[in-house]
Symmetry: D2
Subunit: 468 residues, 4 copies
Amino acid sequence: MSGKPPGNTPTSLWGGRFTGGPAEIMHRINASIDVDRRLYAEDIAGSKAHCAMLVAQNILSPQDGAAIGAGLDQIKSEIDSGRFAFSAEREDIHMNIEGRLAELIGPVAGRLHTARSRNDQVATDFRMWLRSAIDRLDAAMRDLQAALIDRAEAEAATVMPGYTHLQIAQPVTLGHHLLAYVEMLGRDRGRLADGRRRLNESPLGAAALAGTSFPIDRHRTAAALGFDRPAANSLDAVSDRDFAIEFVAAAAIAGTHLSRFAEEVVIWCSGEFGFIALSDAFTTGSSIMPQKRNPDAAELVRAKTGRLNGSVVALLTIMKGLPLAYGKDMQEDKVPVFEAVDALELALAASAGMVRDMRPDRERMHAAAESGFATATDLADWLVRVAGLPFRRAHHATGKIVKRAEELDCSLGMLPLAELQAIEPSITSDVYDLLGADHSVASRTSFGGTAPDRVRAAAQEARKRFLG
Amino acid sequence: MSGKPPGNTPTSLWGGRFTGGPAEIMHRINASIDVDRRLYAEDIAGSKAHCAMLVAQNILSPQDGAAIGAGLDQIKSEIDSGRFAFSAEREDIHMNIEGRLAELIGPVAGRLHTARSRNDQVATDFRMWLRSAIDRLDAAMRDLQAALIDRAEAEAATVMPGYTHLQIAQPVTLGHHLLAYVEMLGRDRGRLADGRRRLNESPLGAAALAGTSFPIDRHRTAAALGFDRPAANSLDAVSDRDFAIEFVAAAAIAGTHLSRFAEEVVIWCSGEFGFIALSDAFTTGSSIMPQKRNPDAAELVRAKTGRLNGSVVALLTIMKGLPLAYGKDMQEDKVPVFEAVDALELALAASAGMVRDMRPDRERMHAAAESGFATATDLADWLVRVAGLPFRRAHHATGKIVKRAEELDCSLGMLPLAELQAIEPSITSDVYDLLGADHSVASRTSFGGTAPDRVRAAAQEARKRFLG
Amino acid sequence: MSGKPPGNTPTSLWGGRFTGGPAEIMHRINASIDVDRRLYAEDIAGSKAHCAMLVAQNILSPQDGAAIGAGLDQIKSEIDSGRFAFSAEREDIHMNIEGRLAELIGPVAGRLHTARSRNDQVATDFRMWLRSAIDRLDAAMRDLQAALIDRAEAEAATVMPGYTHLQIAQPVTLGHHLLAYVEMLGRDRGRLADGRRRLNESPLGAAALAGTSFPIDRHRTAAALGFDRPAANSLDAVSDRDFAIEFVAAAAIAGTHLSRFAEEVVIWCSGEFGFIALSDAFTTGSSIMPQKRNPDAAELVRAKTGRLNGSVVALLTIMKGLPLAYGKDMQEDKVPVFEAVDALELALAASAGMVRDMRPDRERMHAAAESGFATATDLADWLVRVAGLPFRRAHHATGKIVKRAEELDCSLGMLPLAELQAIEPSITSDVYDLLGADHSVASRTSFGGTAPDRVRAAAQEARKRFLG
Amino acid sequence: MSGKPPGNTPTSLWGGRFTGGPAEIMHRINASIDVDRRLYAEDIAGSKAHCAMLVAQNILSPQDGAAIGAGLDQIKSEIDSGRFAFSAEREDIHMNIEGRLAELIGPVAGRLHTARSRNDQVATDFRMWLRSAIDRLDAAMRDLQAALIDRAEAEAATVMPGYTHLQIAQPVTLGHHLLAYVEMLGRDRGRLADGRRRLNESPLGAAALAGTSFPIDRHRTAAALGFDRPAANSLDAVSDRDFAIEFVAAAAIAGTHLSRFAEEVVIWCSGEFGFIALSDAFTTGSSIMPQKRNPDAAELVRAKTGRLNGSVVALLTIMKGLPLAYGKDMQEDKVPVFEAVDALELALAASAGMVRDMRPDRERMHAAAESGFATATDLADWLVRVAGLPFRRAHHATGKIVKRAEELDCSLGMLPLAELQAIEPSITSDVYDLLGADHSVASRTSFGGTAPDRVRAAAQEARKRFLG
């Protein structure tokens, strides 16, 4: 080894922010206790299961096992009650707990680390934590679905405009619209469930990377910790974080769904649309403009996509091109996941709150659905189906009729029959029945369509599929 | 309406690139035929199923149905054989086919569009296309797993260093290492399969957004096109693209796995490591340095993560905050998916090729595994397990022994017994058995561990789980 | 070297997509000619400058130099006119041109590669190409600014609502609103210009990575190709692509600005807002609903952020963790840049088109600005400024007045003086002057404010700053 | 308004996490004080400048101004010293300070908000905070450059292999290699400086969005707060965050540079390369393997790209498609920026520390540079330049010679002259001079090349350009 050591580098070189020199920098970049303390309950549960298995396999004496178990229980209660003094010196949650255990029970604490390494330990903790988080998020999604389904049933026949390109296209019902989100959330829950199933293999016992020569029983610890099975390959068990990326990707997709709903809430709350109102519970006002109800909650839900998408990219970036098995890079995996869980949990709760809180203005929605010639398609379909016109001619005639109504500044239903027949002689007065928005929605009886009866049935069905 | 139209804007204002003025810009930004022509087979299949259903439901006459079916078949064969003249005027694949159908069979072509809209049509086409792509990718992943398992069995006892932090940590076997990727790919296939199942609901019949008043049979078209069922909500069916995001996210995770393997290939091919060699089939050289074999294929596999991660972000961005039901924004959904499929397909094939092609240098790997005191953990474990030392004392003694070996510039196994006993008297000559890398790997018999027998069994098991 | 070569691997193993086996896969993943052919003009210009320098430095004979120059000219004209047969065998644009040059002038073609490598060659080409692209984009941004400034002057006094949270907040003028985008574009142009300046150093002569022993003159080639200077470090010159990331990041920011404008166009075009109309040049309709004008161009502009953000992530991912100097990974740098340039160029042209095309409905905007109690702030300010009320009391009184107006379902300006004075006795009839939207905007005379005179002056100033 | 309010929703519906029901959810999603308290110094400075201007413009009485100023000073000192009780009820930093001011000085505190809004206030605070952060980061980058330049001068003649594709390509010097990063950092600093200049316009006085009718002097507050000028358009001033995106993009590019250096440190520290060693200050070991020095700091630097890239995507996502002027979405802008600043600051300090700490193993580097036939290019160049061979023949001959050396398992310089001449008769014994790595680097004297004299001059020059 040649090369000169840097010698007495004056600390000023490290810049004002790191007055302690290299040691402080290393400490600052290396410590993770402020982040990974959220894993404490899982870390302790994992240690207890590992300890019990070591005893059962005669690797650890029952006495030692009992001492370790009792020490861990005490630590758990210390942390639960806020009495635990986290130490930044002990860098991470594992060392904090291990160090405290040694204080409590002496050197026997070291035996807990038999046939284990921080590599399999943290992988186990993190999976368990995420598993719980997924369960909470699933419950929150289910709650949002429940709110939407309740609302959908109540508004199964509430007619509103359906939009494409934010232009009125065809009438739909509010219930139908809300059920679209129930479907999205159903798939979101499916994604979380699939990811949960996939992550539910226990890394414990993979040790540093190669397994161990101690006669451990990985199936036992896996079962004790609620895993479906031990992970089949020790290198894979400690080195992959695909479960975390899969989770944040699913969270980002769910967040994208919520962002769409939030956008609609913002638009619907605008004075120009005025389709719904939110109470003070989900809006903020200003002392000066008390009538102004800013849909802050919806905007924040919409913005949470930023955090979620950012987490996906953060994790994909971190894991890119890392050789096996463990690199310290992987310590950076937790913040993106924690932030994503927090963001999505909040966004789901706020969305459910808004669904329950919003008061639709049914008259205004209905009036909007009657405007914009939203039933032009109904007319064209009638010309094909009833009057037997060729498709192209039906469309052409409809276009002319709409144009005429626009010229006369009236709705389709208000055009005199003579006007209609002047354009297409085969039209009869029967046609008026279908030019209203109510008739239009009632006629969309195809499976998955917006007819109120369909919507009611779909809500029933959704209740069974998602809340049963 | 007030406001002045822009009048005779000189075209020069549009800049040299868009000499045609607004019309050209609109055409350029709006046309998608160069991209979506890849959907032609699915578009025609969807139209044929829709047509057959219309006939079965008496919405279309059998004669018209037959004419449409024959026309579509002819178009299919024209495109298959490269004789079809795609028209940029007809903007997208749907209009290209519809326009050609009208040329072939006249106005009856228009009847095909009964109870259908481009919104449900493109959603159906895209899902079908992606479904096929997923099947191809699944086959490619399976092929890569097969290559890895074959290699893993052949190299089940090939000892190499296992690394953490790119520092030699403990010996493993090459077979064990390769099986780690088999597990990752297993989960990757699981993700694709889950996504495929989730996307396999037919949007056809959702029409523009609200369903239709024609007595269509969505279950029939769904079954005819291989979907599990029709999508339950018409608004959701035409407005969501979560299946595309889920797919690209899964593809990006798989790409991340491949990037890690590729990084290892690059490192292993370096002169300094020299663990494997790749043939000319997967390297490039230079006329001037014929010995230099650049692992270009591995580097390109590693770089494909760029495209894949970019696709995830592109789709998440596009869909953020879009109100229901359809926005033209969603036309931009295809490029990210097509690019992701192409990138991943290529990366998988190249990876499988490299696995089959690479020649491991077993001697060099073994020598490396013997270096770096990689069996220090084995020694510490022995001191705990056999000599009954407390954990901490065992670790402390091991550390001193390693230090001594470093001073003497020899491996652990070459240290005289006297040296060992000077540090820890309880050591006996038995310990030499376990200071070799071969013994070390042989001892890691825990489930998922690197012992050659374990690896052989794991390979067998993997064959059943993944290739059965 | 041990390890068995894969032997006669049946090609079926490679999967249906790669029937040619390893060779085809390697070719497919390695070839870049379909992408990098866009660099041909820059590649030829770079070669000509290099050739001229070699002659000037007596490294190449004048005759050889002349032959090479003539050959390159001919190739340029072949490609320009579409007569050049690109060969996938020759993998990239450099080899295509070099190969053709050898066909045209024989072995002397090889001398062109003296003191050069593909590494510095492609870095030079790419920078030159991007430089031109930046110039085109700058012109397109300038054109969009010109369109906005023209419009802003015409609409300097057109009153419309200013929004926060998509709720009407205070009146502004359309001109003022449009000038906000002029500022954003000004910064966008600044970012492009800064990046252009930073990238404008010539890598040519860095050779493979270490420089060369030939007595080349890098300053001469740098000057000939319009670079400000040669890059100072040969390793850096061939191995960094920060200029590309910087560019796509600037493009993504510009795209984000355009997405905001596009969102506003979509909202303003909705029937509910009805603030502007776009002509057929930037909308699409349907045969069936001729009144429906879908703002497709705006939606596509909004969606282009997907491509742009994706390009940023793609490049950041590709370059992460690459050791110096050149890795084949870097071949993947071009697609994200080309796609970003194309997307932004199109989005800018479409945006400028829409600005020129849109017809504001001034009456409707004005009416909206009068609604929503948008002048409540003006009232509160008056109470502080004129009536001398403490801030808090002024706000409190305003809130009560707005509430009263809401109860009476009238605007602030329609509330009888008695009502006002019942709430706050110090109010005089003078206050009515400022309760109208016109008065409100006229009063906002602070620098950067929305008063029409301010807007006209700001437009003038913007013309000087950005179009001068 | 129709629609039913949600009535007595049992709080259990809100899920266990939000026991307080809607109010708690809204509070949780809305509060930002835990994040934006970092802006306190800027918020107070901004308020003081605003207050002084209001007094100067006779909008506020000197007495009131003095009271406000004194109150703000006291709050500053309370926060500085940790005695300030932040209140989550008061949601954000502005309200915390405003609320405390009212406690301290009574209702006059309200006058501070004259002609101001939280919209322009937070935009001002955030810009000022980021400006300081940029200054700190610039200093940290400069310090890293200084460390690199010092090292580069010391190692200007330390020969090591230059790599392409992680394959040895040509010899370079370590000093030359390190200076490549000095160039990258120079551009990184340039990007920060450009962004700083661009953001340095004061939003203060833009008020909510439209400016104000109070006779304020925005130039005065701009100057007082160190801004170059007031922002020209009030809507733009409160609604854009491009400066934040530009910053995080520049940070991500810098982070990418650092990730490349970190990757090299990891590779160089591996036993197989063994080019450098890091002391305990930047590595971690294990009690059991004391010889193992894990380059944790380098890995964490490499991983910080995750956070940085994630921040870019987060901000781009948040801002996509937001209509003007202010949306609550923008409250989410701070976390990505704060996280990026912290991550980059830490990564820069750790990188500078490693540069100063690392001990190169010069012998090992040199030996590696002599291996791998790294001087083949020198031979080919000699054949062209001195022996006058046509380019292609020179390359062909070199290839054959390298192959022969490989067969004989010797370096190029150890091949007997007869062997050389058997392949290419024109070779003379002069050629041996250039087959050594030292000669090779010495010969690369082109501008920017790796010749030690060039490197020394470049280091000198860099000192002037970057540290002067």
